[in-house]
Symmetry: C2
Subunit: 283 residues, 2 copies
DNA sequence: TCAACTTTAGAAATAAAATTCCATATATAG
DNA sequence: CTATATATGGAATTTTATTTCTAAAGTTGA
């Protein structure tokens, strides 16, 4: 089935005056039109049934009946696709509601993050990953877990990757980076003092840098050469960084997949190798 | 709008012979019926237009016209809700395609996980969390990162939580658990030797246990008293555990949120406290 | 400028579809 | 076995959609 409102919108520029007014009415009131008879619509648009039928046929429908059903179909499909805003958790929520809301929230966060990512910038970041000799990851708190996750991934395909649990060590690593190295700083807020220091150190060292932070301006972002964003997310039950780390992982997945895609065969081979021994570290 | 096929199915048990055959036909051929005239349908079901109209009215529709549109609507909604399988990454994918596919894959994994979770079991797990004195988390590889993520969360609301980087330490922790303690073993495969050992140790110690593994039978699951599942996920670009850890985090979010909801006010207070000092560890 | 032609639009006629009404058949209870 | 309720389909009616026809408006070209 064809999407009536889209078709009509397309048709607008070649539409006659009467047709324009009919289309305008339909686009403004698709819901009610979908329940209307052709004569009622003719009356409301100060036109005639014949004109409406002609319009329907010109747009590829059999007649008004078919058009009307297509409209119902489109409206239903749109409604079903609509992402409903996630309600905040309330005191009285059942377990099932909590499951649904938390999951929906995380899904929404992934979708938003997808829309925030600039494919060109991602591409440049993958290039950098490729060209760099050593990948150094920086993070603290739950972002450190994301950094470590990235490390697990990249080590599997034999990319030299450093992370450290301890911030002092992270800072030392940053200070000693070479211009051929790439630093990725993961910090949801982009305001963490420790990460700002790391960013400065990388800059001093003249190495390449990518920040992964929430959308908007923040110190870490400003200090890095490249920027990737995750959705700014309001808390569910004021619980602080919840979905953000899932979005961060998603960004890591994307970088990792992009990287692998650059060296398709080589990566396949390396992954096969690390697969064979019953993947103890992959759990 | 009401879902016609659901209504009709419900109505089946009070339907007369003629009505039954009409309903059967509609349920078997909803697509074509949605495009049919009432007389055609009457002919095909060896009944009459009047019978069909009566049936529509009995089921809460104005008449056949309304019923027909409701059917179109339902079919569209069903189709739109159908989750389309995510295509595997191919050599020729653009960066934008990689972004979309990876994200879609992760979203799908979250949705599947939601459907695998049994609300009753989740509720029991939240109860356990509540009753338990100490929460011990177990994991290795990327599941260890999930365990640590859980620890970060629960520590914020002052729940005593242990995790260790080192498996030997994990095993010792398990061995020394008391019956008032709760162990959560995180293992996507449920087959990791180290986690099986931990599960056995917890069982020996007589403590409560929850497994979080992929769906299906596996050793870790069998050794634990309670089970939560995440979606079994096929790899995108054969990259091993990709979305699974995101689903695991989702399960953690759900447990954590459920826990907080049990002590709504207390948690709010505790979260506020850890929020004040510019959340250095939450990044 | 004005005839020839094309495009556009609506009224009326027609066709199609939905709905109502009614007669009849069938089952059910007394 | 009759009275009553219920179910069903055919015909009549109404509603709705579609076609046809005519007229008006606009466009083109000599």
């Amino acid at each position: 089935m064809k999407m009536p409102t889209i078709r009509l919108r397309e048709y607008l520029n070649q539409a006659s005056v009467t047709e324009k007014s009919i289309i305008d009415y339909i686009l403004l009131n698709p819901e009610s039109v979908s329940r209307m008879t052709i004569h009622k619509l003719a009356e409301l648009t100060y036109s005639s049934a014949s004109s409406i039928i002609r319009l329907c046929k010109k747009n590829g429908y059999d007649g008004f009946k078919e058009f009307s059903k297509a409209l119902v179909y489109e409206l239903a499909a749109r409604k079903a696709h609509q992402v409903k805003p996630v309600d905040e958790i309330t005191r009285s929520d059942s377990t099932q509601e909590i499951i649904d809301k938390v999951t929906q929230k995380n899904i929404l966060s992934l979708e938003d993050t997808k829309n925030l990512l600039d494919a060109e910038e991602v591409k440049r970041c993958v290039d950098l990953l490729h060209r760099s000799e050593i990948l150094c990851l920086f993070g603290i708190g739950s972002s450190l877990l994301v950094a470590k996750d990235a490390q697990l991934k990249f080590l599997r395909i034999n990319k030299k990757t450093y992370v450290s649990d301890d911030w002092h060590t992270q800072l030392l690593t940053a200070t000693n980076m070479s211009p051929n190295d790439l630093g990725i700083i993961i910090s949801y807020s982009g305001q963490t003092h420790e990460m700002i220091e790391c960013a400065k150190a990388i800059r001093e060292a003249g190495a390449e840098s990518i920040s992964i932070t929430r959308f908007g301006n923040n110190p870490v972002k400003s200090l890095c050469k490249h920027h990737l964003y995750v959705a700014a997310n309001e808390s569910l039950f004021r619980s602080g960084a919840m979905s953000s780390r899932i979005s961060l992982l998603n960004v890591i997945d994307i970088l990792y997949t992009g990287y692998n895609n650059r060296q398709y065969d080589k990566s396949l081979e390396l992954l096969a190798k690390t697969h064979i021994r019953k993947e103890p570290t992959l759990d």
